[in-house]
């Protein structure tokens, strides 16, 4: 049996692109003032390193390792990496940034503190590495690229192969891939090598010219010469490694550093019974031109490259081939970045294979473009990563370049810091919760992105969360009760809480008879089902029978059930209650500007809109203020035109309503609101049986202290899907982080 011609014989509609991906990226934390490796411990805010699936420390304490979960596409993997990068950037000290290059800045051995891991074994292993290879080498960073062929793809190929054992097939398939990877990886070194220099002090004998990839050369992180592993069969491969471990050439199997690793079992010998599951490509330098260290284009090119390795036949004398390729790779890695590929590089073989895969499986144009780009880079080495870096070299140093890029990426992480990069189409509170999930190292799956439906887990403990606050902690019927204003009022009122007195009517006659009970009071007449819609009449003083009847006619024209309620004067506050505790209080005020005696109203609006918290469509904590018809009319009624200079200190409202969605301001008053009102709101939520709940209270006098007998506040609505983000990033006030509180309540074991 042979795996040659397997793809060639496969049907055109084989799911050839089906695969899963995982990326790991290392990066050093750098102090912003000294531009030296940070001497601070791993950020506490990242929780517990013993289980954190996304943000770990690699060799040394300041070396972060960012690890994506398994993704079902390259774009999903990069989105994960972007988000984890975003979280890492905002989790490290504001005095630090991440080094964007594989080669560290100027560094000395004693700056490299071994990671303070819990595991004694891991600490000992790192000590051994320091002794064997020196600590400096451990400060290099790179990207590992994990790839597993899709289940349907492997199954189809297996059926076609004639193999009788899936384990054998998997092992042969992956061994062939690994062999061919080693034969052709020099192309990746050429294209993506990005470690052209070592900063002063790193090498005993400094370079005299830039190279493509120090890290992928013999100067890089490689095993000593006595570690020689055959790839001619899986059995040889395994027994060679085992021999090295048993005679001490390696301290553990994992100390065998190959640019490609077989993966799926912890012990190599287990592959013989379980089969290799996936491969890890370990040769990628950090791409300093991308904040994530690798681009979408690179990830997809490598995917196509891997498929073309499967297209190519295996070599018969594989170990010699690999040794030859290793020499070629070393030459290319140590060549000047602007040098062309040496003639002996079998570039046509690999390019033809890539082209053949594209043609045979009729891949989208996108993949053709990727190959065209490789051809271009081969012709013009200045287009490769190391070729581009030549322009930034200053005296064979990239210190300034690295500092500028690293700080730029850190600034980028703090841009629109309320959002989670890559997930901006999701609701803002869900983005914030996902940020917390990644930061605290919980596992997650987006079950349905447009539905904001998340699965979050830690060990065996699973929680489903929708809209960041709909969880298993609330019971089903209570949100349904809160959805119904009549029911909500009844429950609160039966429990003795203040709600607007009123009644529901299904005919005008009965409503008219109610007049005697409300005639001296301020009232609201409204259709039952449209609370903020048409048909609402408000009488802030009192109402005549004639006007009352008119209001009833208007309301009954909208709904056949009408509410007549006492109108409560005062200021409306939103209390956010979680698990019986009021965690935030917000005042919302209408869109407005305050004059400075210098700028026009139009200019003041523009200045206010320049706040990065303001955006559009609820994907920012505050909305852009428009100067539309409604705002202009509002200005006109107050005697202003938009180009008037507004006197110093004069405040002009641009809207009647205080909704955030029409440019209103959010003012966090959590700390200034009297505790008695917070307790009242919390008691209401508890009475209702709500876990996460927004309580809207009208408070006529904030200086009044609330009590059971004299609450001084009236509840006009409970909200079962309360917006959380508006409490966090406010126009005024410090803001309250709420999504993390939800998460810590859901997973108390990680707190």
């Amino acid at each position: 049996m042979t795996l040659n011609q397997l793809l060639q014989n496969a049907p055109k509609n084989l799911p050839i692109l089906q695969a899963t991906f995982g990326l790991e990226r290392e990066s050093l934390r750098i102090n912003k003032s000294t531009h030296k490796v940070a001497q601070t411990p791993h950020p506490k805010v990242l929780g517990n390193r013993s289980f954190h699936p996304y943000i770990q420390t690699d060799y040394s304490e300041p070396q972060l390792e960012l690890i994506t979960p398994v993704a079902s596409s390259t774009s999903e993997a990069l989105r994960f990496l972007g988000a984890i990068t975003d979280v890492a950037g905002r989790s490290i000290s504001k005095d630090e940034y991440l080094w964007p290059l594989s080669m560290p800045p100027r560094i000395t051995e004693n700056e490299i503190g071994i990671a303070k891991l819990d595991s004694q074994y891991e600490r000992n292993y790192r000590k051994h590495l320091a002794e064997t290879y020196g600590k400096l080498l451990q400060s290099m960073s790179g990207i590992h690229y994990n790839m597993e062929l899709g289940k349907d793809l492997v199954q189809s190929l297996y059926q076609q192969s004639g193999y009788r054992s899936m384990v054998d097939f998997r092992n042969d398939l992956h061994l062939k891939l690994a062999q061919n990877f080693l034969r052709f990886r020099w192309l990746l070194t050429f294209l993506y090598g990005a470690s052209p220099i070592a900063e002063q002090g790193f090498l005993e004998t400094p370079l005299t010219k830039p190279v493509r990839s120090l890290r992928n050369s013999s100067y890089g992180y490689v095993n000593h010469d006595e570690v020689r592993i055959s790839y001619d069969s899986l059995e040889h491969y395994i027994s060679d490694i085992e021999a090295c471990v048993s005679d001490g050439r390696l301290i553990a199997e994992k100390e065998f550093y190959s640019p490609v690793r077989l993966r799926g079992s912890k012990r190599n010998r287990d592959y013989l019974t379980n089969g290799v599951t996936y491969l890890e490509f370990r040769c990628f330098d950090l791409n300093p031109f991308d904040n994530k260290g690798i681009t979408q284009e690179t990830v997809d090119t490598v995917h196509l490259f891997a498929l073309s390795l499967l297209w190519l036949d295996s070599s018969s004398a594989i170990d010699q081939e690999i040794a030859k390729a290793q020499k070629l790779n070393d030459a290319i890695a140590l060549a000047h970045p602007l040098d062309k590929l040496p003639d002996e590089a079998p570039v046509k073989d690999i390019l033809d294979a890539m082209q053949a895969v594209i043609n045979h499986f009729d891949l989208p144009n996108y993949y053709q473009n990727l190959v065209d780009k490789i051809v271009e880079q081969i012709a013009q080495p200045n287009l490769t990563l190391s070729g581009q870096l030549v322009d930034y070299l200053e005296d064979l140093s990239l210190e300034n370049f690295g500092q500028e890029k690293g700080q730029g990426y850190q600034d980028y992480a703090w841009q629109a810091h309320y959002a989670l990069k890559g997930y901006e189409t999701m609701e803002l509170s869900t983005q914030m919760l996902l940020f917390d999930v990644i930061q605290k190292g919980l596992n997650f799956e987006i079950m349905d992105e447009s539905d904001q439906f998340l699965k979050i887990w830690h060990g065996n403990h699973i929680e489903y969360v929708k809209n960041a606050n709909m969880t298993a902690r609330d019971n089903y019927v209570i949100p349904l009760a809160m959805e119904n204003k009549i029911v909500t009022k009844k429950i609160l009122s039966e429990a003795g809480f203040p709600v607007p007195a009123g009644s529901e009517f299904d005919n005008k006659d009965a409503a008219l008879r109610y007049f005697s009970q409300i005639k001296d009071k301020p009232i609201v007449v409204k259709p039952k089902s449209t609370n903020f819609g048409l048909g609402i009449s408000i009488f802030k003083d009192s109402v005549s029978l004639e006007d009352y009847e008119k209001a009833l006619d208007i309301a009954f024209s909208e709904d056949n059930s009408v509410l007549v309620e006492v109108f409560i004067a005062g200021t409306e506050y939103r209390f956010f209650v979680l698990d019986g505790v009021c965690e935030a209080v917000l005042l919302r005020v209408a869109a407005n500007v305050v004059g400075d005696g210098k700028h026009s109203i139009r200019q003041l609006v523009a200045i206010k809109n320049s706040n990065p918290l303001r955006g559009r469509d609820h994907r920012s904590p505050l909305e852009i203020i428009d100067l539309g018809d409604i705002e202009l009319l509002m200005l006109q009624q107050q005697g202003y035109s938009p180009d008037d200079i507004l006197p110093d200190g004069i405040k002009v409202n641009l809207r009647e309503n205080s909704n955030i969605s029409t440019g209103g301001d959010s003012i966090d008053v959590t700390s200034s609101m009297d505790a008695s009102f917070k307790q009242l709101a919390a008691d209401m939520a508890k009475t209702m049986g709500a876990w996460a709940c927004g309580v809207d209270l009208i408070i006529p006098d904030k200086n009044h202290i609330s009590s059971k007998e004299n609450p001084g506040a009236t509840c006009i609505e409970l909200n079962f899907n309360p917006c959380m983000y508006m409490h966090t990033y406010c126009q005024e006030g410090e803001g309250q982080a709420l999504t993390i509180k939800v998460l810590e309540k859901l997973f108390p074991e990680i707190v």
Copy 2:
């Protein structure tokens, strides 16, 4: 201070009609064969008499007492009474019915078994009554009418009155009402007296002619002459009763039988400090022409009558007035039903007062009609209840009339027995749950009728229920997960349950690439968000690339997310799972008729539609089959016209789809479905975390036994709001009562 002229001086828009009402109705259980009082114990299905708020036993074991909760209108009170009557009728043995008359059928003392109550005190009290009054008197039944004036009404009158104490005001107000009630209650005896005879053996000296109301006469259930209670002041009233109790004329305060009772405290003396809250009018004979024993018209007339008692001045010599009125009442009660009112009856006084109330407060025309009707009845006594009964007398007996009416009302209770009378506009499952609530004696409040939102409680234990199955037992996020088919499939699939393999695509290119994975399989292509809407293509064998592409185009024209799923052939069953146990399994089949060789298809449809389970708009367990365009086309395609005689045994489908809503049949297969499938469905619901859940399984072969390895069924949907009633009343099969199971799970303490 005086209460005279209080209403006369009140503003026209006083909420005069504001009041709450409660009705109590006694009735004897009668054996259907013997037409004698039933000798069976109180129905077990009614649960525990020690707390049942609606259905109690009165004096004797066979005498039911039906008690409404407090209602905020007369119509609500009657609706309650109708529902409780309905539940009582369907809770007693099918061999029994309720006696519709106040006077019992032929009865002897030893047929009257004292109610087997838990309380020793209550049993002793009843023994005392038997000794004092004889058991026969205890077998008379009537209606007690409780009425409390509205809070706003009382408050307004109090403010206007000049009283300084609300307690004093309440006491004076209610005493005046009670005094005037006693002065004018003869009018009620005239209008609503309905006990014209006693059956043979009841009276020692039989009547020689019919009367108006034996029960309201001196033959009725009255205290002995030595019990004389003054009404001239509350203090006198209380001390007179206390004196009777202390010297043994009465065994307890409650033994004082007056046609009107002050209510609100258990001990009369407490009124002096707490105030009287409401009045109980106790003089109403059962109206045998209404299944509830009293009509809406009567209840409203009495309401108006009570208000007119408030309009009338008090008398200065009240005890003499009451004594005089008592004599008048006795005369009227013992007069022939067709006799006119005696001249000395001050009928003008009370009619004028009623008219004055209508005029002063501008009451709706309805109330004028009620007064006009009284005037008519005064002129034509044959229109009164006893007047009407004259026609049914046979040898001074109403045995035959009582049997016929009683059995008729019992038949009515079993008409549309799936519904709860008076609540037919609510969803059927909610009606069924309310039936169970009343039957088991739980308290309830309909928080929002159109929202099917109930509050149910027992002691301090409150449960809210919407749509009969949305409760606090389910957590909030799981129904939201089930609402989302993608999420549901992911959760089930991750737990290893069979769901249709498939994928979601947001672009056609990716979906086309998926072709190789599905090309040999039966598939469904559907827009993500419209499951039963447009854009679905089903390929039951396999699909060509061309057809697949067309199907994708159709689906993408409906939604920008498209699902491609393996089509699962087999029969779809609905499994209803509650709290981890599958309680019912239903097969739904398309609307159809089966020929008998005699009737045309049209006639067969009509016969099928005559099933009382069939109705319209989901307010019956099955829907009427229409012979509309779709059905006629379906017939035509099978080569039939609607007037063809269908051969014996031939089944013709009238619809493609099996929905109950288009006339489909429900077939209960709970007992025949293999337990392994029920376990599978229950396991799915448990995995999902659902408490109440509908599991739709496709089963290709019902004879296959399901196992974990080879489940033999595929889940195509979970339903978080599963219809319950369709499992209970089926076209075929015994049916499964589910709402009672929900209720017993919610309130295990009553089981």
